[in-house]
Every structure is written in C-alpha cells, then in structure tokens.
Symmetry: C2
Subunit: 346 residues, 2 copies
C-alpha cells in the first residue's frame, strides 16, 4: 500500500448501500473515492457521470453492454483495485464471498457487509464496540442494519452496568423503496419462521457478552425497521438513568412522540427537511417519551433506517483497517461531523 | 323475563362485531335472534331483509331517514328491547356506555364489548377464565380481541403451572377491511405512544393473577393482529410440554409454517376455503413450529382475527348471564360445534 495524503477507497457494488457509502466517503477529508464498480446498464448508474465518479465494470463481459448503453466505463474491477488502498464490497448478499478471494490474492484491505457470514472476515464491526480490535486488520464485516442497532443500544446498557438480558421483536420493512414495484408484500404480515431470528446471534458476533434473543416479522412498508425491546436489567433503575446511559452513544438520537414524531414516516420526512442525502437516518431513533422502566425491567422502541444506519460504521471501519484513526472516538467524531450525525435531531 | 324455549337475543349495532354476533346467535339451538338495531341508511343494512332479520332504529329521528332510504324498520330500540331477554351491545366504542342506563332502567340483561371500560359492568368475560363468575349476572363485558387472545393463551400456561410473567409485542391491523378506504395508514408504522399498552391491564381485569406487559404498534394491513411473546416460565420446560398445555384450550388452533401457512393472508384464505362466514378465524392461530423454549424461557407468535375472535365469547356470555348453561365447558362445546371451532384447522 503506497502512502498517500488520503486513503484511496473503491466501492464494489453501487446499490442501496454502495451509493450511500460512496457519497459518505466523498465527505471525508482523509479519504478519496477512486471509483465504483457495478454490472448494471440501466438508470441506476447514470448519476455517476454528473457526480464525476469513475465507473468500472465487474468484468470484460459486463463492460460491453454497459458501454453499449452509453455508460463511460474506465476499466474493470482489477484496474479499480490497482488504484485503491481499500475496497468496500457492497455487492448483493452472498456475492461478496466470491470476491473475497480476489481481494485476498491482491493483499488489498476490504470490508464486507452484514449479508455475509462472520467467518468471511473473522471480525464483525460496530464502531462503538469493536473499532479497537479492527485496527490494522486486512478485513472486517460491518454487520447488518438490525444488528448494528442492537449492538449500539444494548452496548450502552452493558457499559452502564444495566444489561442482564434483552428480548426483542423486530418489525422488518418488506423491501427497499427503489425495488418496491417488484414483489414487496401487501396487506399481510410474514413471520420469520425461525425463533429466535438470526439477529441475536449476529449481535453476539460483535460482542459475545450480549444476552439477546430476537424474533422478527416482515411488515408491508418500505421505510425502516422498528424494534420493540423488553430488557431485564441487573437492578432496578429509573427512566432518567436509562436515558442517561443511552446518551453515552453519539449514534442514538432520542426523539419524542410529543414533537409529532409519532410514526416512522414523520421521522423520514424530517431527515428530508434536514437536507440529508436520500433522507438518511444514520442514528438509531429511540422514542424517549415511550421508554418505560418497571423495577428492574425496561421497555422501549426505536426506528432503524436499514438503508443508512451502516454507512457511518462503514466509514469508521475504513479508518480502523487502514490505521487512519488510532481509536474509535476520533474516527466517530470525524464521521459524525461529516454526515451531520447527532443525538438531538433538532 | 318470561321463560321461553329459547333465549331471545337482541343485537344493538350491526357493524363488524354486531353482524357476526347476529349470524352466530342464529346458529345456536338455544337462542333466537329477535332483531337488530342500527342508525345507518346505506348498503350495510340491506342484507338484513334477505336474511329475514327484523331491523329496528335507534330512535324516531333515525327511523325516518332509514325508512326514506327504503329500509323496512320494525320500530325503535325500545320496542326491540321489549321483545328480548338479553341485548348484546355492539355499538361503537364509548357509545355503549350511554345505552347502559337504558338497559339498567329496563332490567334487561346486557353485554358490552371491549371498547368499554371494565367499570361499565364490573365484570370482564373470557369463556375459559370467567364464565363461572358471570352466571346469573345482569351484565358483563366481553373483552377486546387482543385481550381475549392474551387471556386464552396465558391462562393455559397459568393452569399448567408454567406462567411466571409474559411480555408481548402486538402488531395491530391498521383498520378493518370494510372501511379501509377511509384513512388506514399506508407504508408506515405507528407505535402506540404508551408503553405498556392497555391490553396488559385489560387482561388483568379478567384474571388479576396474570403478570403481563404489552407494547403495541399499528401496521399497514387490515387482516388481523399478530402477537409476539417472550414468556418467563416458572421452570424449564420442553416445547412438547408447552404445546400440550396449549392443547387444553379448545380455542387455540395450532398451525404450521411447513403447511404453507407462512403469513396471515394464507390463514385468512384457509378460513374462506373452509366456508366460514366472513372468513372468520375464531381461534387464536398459534404457530407450533415457530414456538421455541430455551430453559425457562418461552417464545411464540400467533394471529388474532380482530373481527371474529370475540364472537364465540359473546355467545358464551349470553349463556352465562341467562343461565342457559351451568358451566363453561357445556357452553363452549355448544358454541364450538355451532361455529366449527377446532384445535386443528385441517
């Protein structure tokens, strides 16, 4: 890896996550986006030219149709990887696993996302919990949106000495907005057939200490996930103490129904009003006025923007792997400032 | 009250619940439907003539427009009450409370539904739990759909000596199908602002022993509610023992995702295929293959047809108040047989 004034980042896969990662990388003073790679020939890659982001094709086979459709293709993935210090793989679930051998052969650092298994990299990443153990590694896996939210929230309770065990019900959005014309569910509810669902064990891949069980159900909406939690605390605690504990995470935003934020659509609209790209909600949005303690029990609900929550974690993971930051706090501070992440949305 | 060969039942309010109660009463050998009362002039009351069910108007003021629209009106509520031994009030939430004084003044037995407060009758009814204490009373309240399902399921765990405490997340249908053109939510999730939600205390109005806490969220579908439960048992128990306990209730049907019943719409379609009126699911439909025990913890999910689940309870409540049955078992058996209620749907 040649030393540069900034880390050169490639993004492989320009979908829901990839395009947001690319935008976020371009906002970092210590990073340079050298290009993105994809296989599509349709509308999805057209904004790249206006953004002056170099586009690469996954292979010679895909480069042909892409060029024929009018896209400017700078080369193939191999060429892109030659120009980069690190690649963020944002290809669809299970595809990244096949790219990994290529990254390893080149010795390039790489990040995969939550669709891949923990074993693909042997390390799972949430900035506030596992930044230190990622420093200097060749690779890590930024866990899924749901798991990221679980680790963010339960970790603060753990660090405050309050967490005994947590049991959660996850309402999962049916599909992403951009593809909601292609088979999202309508007017029904679809339980995940496995109880517990996979997010609990996945959170334990970041922090094995967390005693967490999840159940999940798919619901007919596209905006975000919604989690409901019943937590057994180590002792009785008042609401104010718990809210104080959540305040220790810069990536949990406390919101109130009394501000009119009574449903997930209103929170998404607020993100648009704040001028965030793609109306991204990077924070876990947790309703402070709904939160309730009863003796040693704690109940609360929060919203997870599945398209956005892993973006800041991915930026921090780049800093951890490449040694751009010496610790979680400095990286998180840079990322938060660049993306406008905050604990109060207004 | 004059003695008749069968109990004469009046239904006040011919909406989602009232029309199902009327249908169910007509299927009981020991009951006679003497008429229904309503205030509407539109399509909703047109099927009554074909069913030969006498229609009464709530008052002289409403009788005029109803007759003008072509409906045959036999008289007003007062006349209907004169012909009945018991009235089942199915008017909208909070309206019944104003009717109650009229019922009391006449000394007629009456049943209200879960939209009213416990104090309106001082007794809350779920057949398997509180039939005995309702016998001979002037009135009772059949609790709401969600509460009925909670009492049915948690009571069997309690009777099996397994229930310590239960924490549930309730996904509530947005609106009923017949009025889903008028403001049901779309593409969002709306948390109930109060944690705990009211269903837990409501279940305790039937059985104060139940240690239950609920959280609720409105989801954009119209078919049914879906509940997710985390239960702390009194001791470790295997899945088979828990399923055996649920088998003690004739109103819990065990279903399987492996039969293709992977979502609430498929269960509703099965009800139609079984020829049930309005595709009614009277049972709590509980997924036996999703149910999971982990030591002394229990996790499961079930579906609640909010339009149908209280119908059998209402029929049983009629028998309890009027002394038509000496105990829960005989009434439940009659009701189940008449409505086709069973523990295995096929």
């Amino acid at each position: 890896m040649t030393q540069h004034s900034s880390i050169r980042v490639a993004v492989n896969g320009y979908g829901v996550i990839g395009k947001r990662v690319a935008d976020a990388v371009r906002l970092q003073a210590d990073m340079e986006l050298v290009g993105v790679c994809d296989i599509a020939s349709d509308w999805r890659l057209r904004p790249l030219e206006e953004k002056a982001i170099p586009l690469y094709a996954a292979s010679d086979e895909t480069a042909g149709p892409m060029r024929a459709s009018g896209l400017s293709v700078a080369g193939t993935l191999d060429a892109l990887l030659q120009t980069a210090d690190i690649v963020v793989d944002c290809t669809p679930k299970r595809v990244a696993a096949t790219n990994v051998e290529r990254y390893r052969a080149r010795g390039i650092k790489f990040i995969v996302h939550g669709g891949e298994k923990h074993a693909v990299t042997g390390h799972s990443f949430v900035a506030e919990s596992s930044f230190a153990s990622a420093i200097g590694r060749q690779s890590t896996r930024v866990v899924s949106c749901n798991t990221t939210s679980i680790v963010r929230t339960l970790s603060v309770l753990k660090r405050a000495g309050l967490l005994k065990r947590a049991r959660g019900t996850l309402l999962r959005r049916a599909t992403d907005p951009w593809e909601s014309h292609e088979g999202g569910i309508m007017n029904t509810l679809v339980p995940e057939p496995e109880i517990p669902s996979h997010q609990g064990p996945d959170a334990q891949s970041v922090d094995p200490d967390l005693d967490v069980v999840t159940m999940a159900v798919k619901v007919p909406e596209t905006l975000a996930h919604l989690h409901y939690w019943s937590v057994q605390m180590t002792r009785a605690a008042e609401k104010e103490e718990v809210l104080g504990a959540f305040g220790a995470s810069s990536r949990i935003a406390l919101i109130r129904t009394t501000d009119g934020l009574t449903a997930i659509n209103t929170v998404k609209e607020l993100m648009a009003d704040l001028g965030r790209p793609h109306d991204n909600l990077y924070e876990v949005a947790l309703w402070e006025d709904m939160l309730r303690t009863e003796g040693d029990e704690l109940f609360y609900a929060y919203m997870v923007d599945n398209q956005a929550i892993v973006i800041p974690e991915t930026i921090d993971a780049i800093r951890a792997l490449t040694g751009l930051a010496s610790g979680a706090d400095s990286s998180i501070a840079l990322t938060n400032a660049s993306l406008g992440i905050r604990q109060r949305l207004f």
